[in-house]
Amino acid sequence: MKYHDIVIIGGGPAGMAAAVAAYDAGVTDVAILDREETLGGILKQCIHNGFGLHKLGRELTGPEYADVYRAEVEKRGIAVYTDTMVTAVSPERVVTAQNRTGVLTMQAGAVVLAMGCRERSRGALNISGTRPAGVYSAGTAQKLMNCEGYRVGERVVILGSGDIGLIMARRLSLEGAKVEAVCEIMPYSGGLIRNIVQCLEDFGIPLYLSHTVAEIHGRRRVEGVTIAEVDDKRRVIEATKRYIPCDTLLLSCGLIPENELTRAAGIPMDPVTGGALVDEHRETAVPGIFACGNVLQVHDLVDYVSDEAEIAGVGAASFVKNQKAKRPVIATKAGNGVRYVLPQQVHADGSEDISLFLRVTKPFGKVRYTVSAGERVLATANRLKAAPGEMEKITVGRDKWQGVAGPVTVSLEEL
């Protein structure tokens, strides 16, 4: 069996940033395993710009952002196994993978899970009607267009106003397709405001909030869809049904962290994030197994994925070097207006500043966040607005953590 100090599963933005951070923290025997031919993950198909503004201080396309990290990986001589699919991870950190040479097993000093996420499918949405060609998840259509060079449709309806859906609305328009409508079942969009402006408004594409696709029509190829308004329980209002002729339906209805390996390894999960339960170093409840990026929680920007991956990479390096004894942890909780808080547990011994990441339950105006332990307030933060599509970060300084014993709650009040 091969041995590597750190084995990273997935060579997208999270895996690459974790590898570089681990190496720079002093652990040089790092290996990245990726199922595709080249590193970069989904960034390879994201040919639009807007990447790197926060992290690198310049605006790049997805492939360019990936190239920055790929160069860093290469410069360090980090081992890369491409075309290699991991099929199992054990709690003892034995990684099983396969490629065209056979089945590989590796003992890892630490494992970083960085498998990313997948899109919610038509089946999972349970849209009724026929099952013709021309129903795509937005990412699949993006890959076919941007990596393979094909047009997927001429008249398109998009369900879901997540960022991929918005970006694909623009991409399809640029290639000559007519995007008839974007339907969003919620009363607000889950996408970034800049994407609604640049991808829909600039192209005159209507966004119908509180609307869904009720039925798909067409026997061999999509011929149209029935869209309808929904009530506050997201049920279709029959009287509002209307037919839109189209040949393509794109689905951009949410991303699901791809945690099959994680679950099979028996790692405890957070039902709200869909990712593992982790501490402030992004270590899961199984010692030496870390998680970061969209496999842990779905992020808004790749820049934040890189940030989180660096935390996990440094954490994994520290685990390999120190093998520290388990220290007591306290839980973090989502309070009023907050959907989840990550990390879900922290070592509150005051040895370092800890940032808490969170999402809110619905859009708010001006808010104040409060991080508290019982009666004690650890931090507050005011924001001009809050939206579920935009992750929030609140840092609690190391001195504040001292003496905190019970669970820590993050809540918000609208101002």
Partner: protein, 476 residues
Amino acid sequence: MYDVIIVGAGVIGGMLARELTRYRLSVCLLEKENDVACGASKANSGIVHGGYDPTPGTLKAKLNTAGVEKLFAAAAELHVPCTRCGSLVVAFSAEEDEIVKALLERGLINGVKGLSVLTGDEARALEPALSPDVTSALSVPNAGVVCPYQLTIAAVGNAMDNGAALQLNFEAVAVSREADGFTVTAADGRAVKGRYLVNCAGGHADQIAAMAGDGFFTLIPRAGEYMLLDKAEGGRVRRTIFQVPTKEGKGILVTPTADGNLLTGPTATHVESAESTETTPAGLETVARLAAKSVPSVNFRQVITSFTGVRASVAGGDFIIEPSKTVQGLLHVAAIDSPGLTCCVAIAEYAVGLLQSMGLAAEKNPTFNGARADVHAFRHMSNEERDAYIKEHPDYGKIICRCETVTEGEIRDALRRNPPANDIDGVKRRTRAGMGRCQGGFCMPYVMRLISEERDVNMTDVTKNGGASKQLKGRI
């Protein structure tokens, strides 16, 4: 001039073709779709029914009882996923308890072995997820589940390996009886001649019968909607859970599938035609509500797809398996609704007997081989087996479908072996690529590329299921 033409490459036509290749006969299967198993054979419950249900004395009763063991044997020989998991028919009231007892009696008359009536508690001891409201259950240990489209594909493939011909996209528009046999003409002008003609056209069997000049029956298409759940739900129950037949129909079942998913359905509604395979909000809602009646803990957030199958039923209720009374050399194997899948081998054998009685000379084929080479399904292999196999076949090292662990080697094999897949759905049914939780989101572009390579078609001509179902609209 073929000895026998079979119209329709569903599970019945396919199994009959295989049965006929046991003899020195030339056989041609005609199928209107771009693949086999495109009608009811791909969209049904996948159940091997025990045999307690058909009315004693009917063809259904006779062929069901005889068919169960024949089906399990054929599935094993053809390496088709199949499990003898048993079934329970559950009752929810004193009135329904009586129906359970009546089903036991009927089963005994039909010659079904191993039946017993359980109390509600005994049933829950076997299946802890059963509703606390279940009052009694009929236990049917000989029942099971089989993958219906894999069975059809394997049967046709084995028939082809033994010499049968298959013509796809052959939509029959005319059947003429001539002195020496039949000529079947397709919409595109192709014509196939044969001495005997067998009508296995499923939901279109009444149309084929009429085309041949013997339209004495009319099918009543009845749709059944289903929801298929992730393998994470596959262990919710170990047996097929039926409800006793009620006014709402034969009842909604909850069953593990032969491939490890959980299946719920079907509804029963009259529809316009065999092509009415759309799902409806009301249908899916009914499935969820009635499935939860038997097994309240089914997690419908784990649904990965929904689909509709259309049964080919007739008013009388029994199969129509008989030589035409007016057209010499024509055999009908029609109105094959439930338990048709269970009976398919028994039906095929019975149909061969009828053809012989109609004068078909059938001499044993000494080279017949009823076994079909196993597909090297990676998900069933140990790491040692995988390593050894990849060393010999590097294409099996590349996983294309991550949800179902399907390798490039398996997909190429599906595009080469009989009957070769021609489209994305064909690859899916043969390999399960695209059948998992992401429903092809990741693997579809790769599958399309492999189809393009292996079948020598342009990417822009790759279809989902033939005809106008092209995925792409052209180059950028």
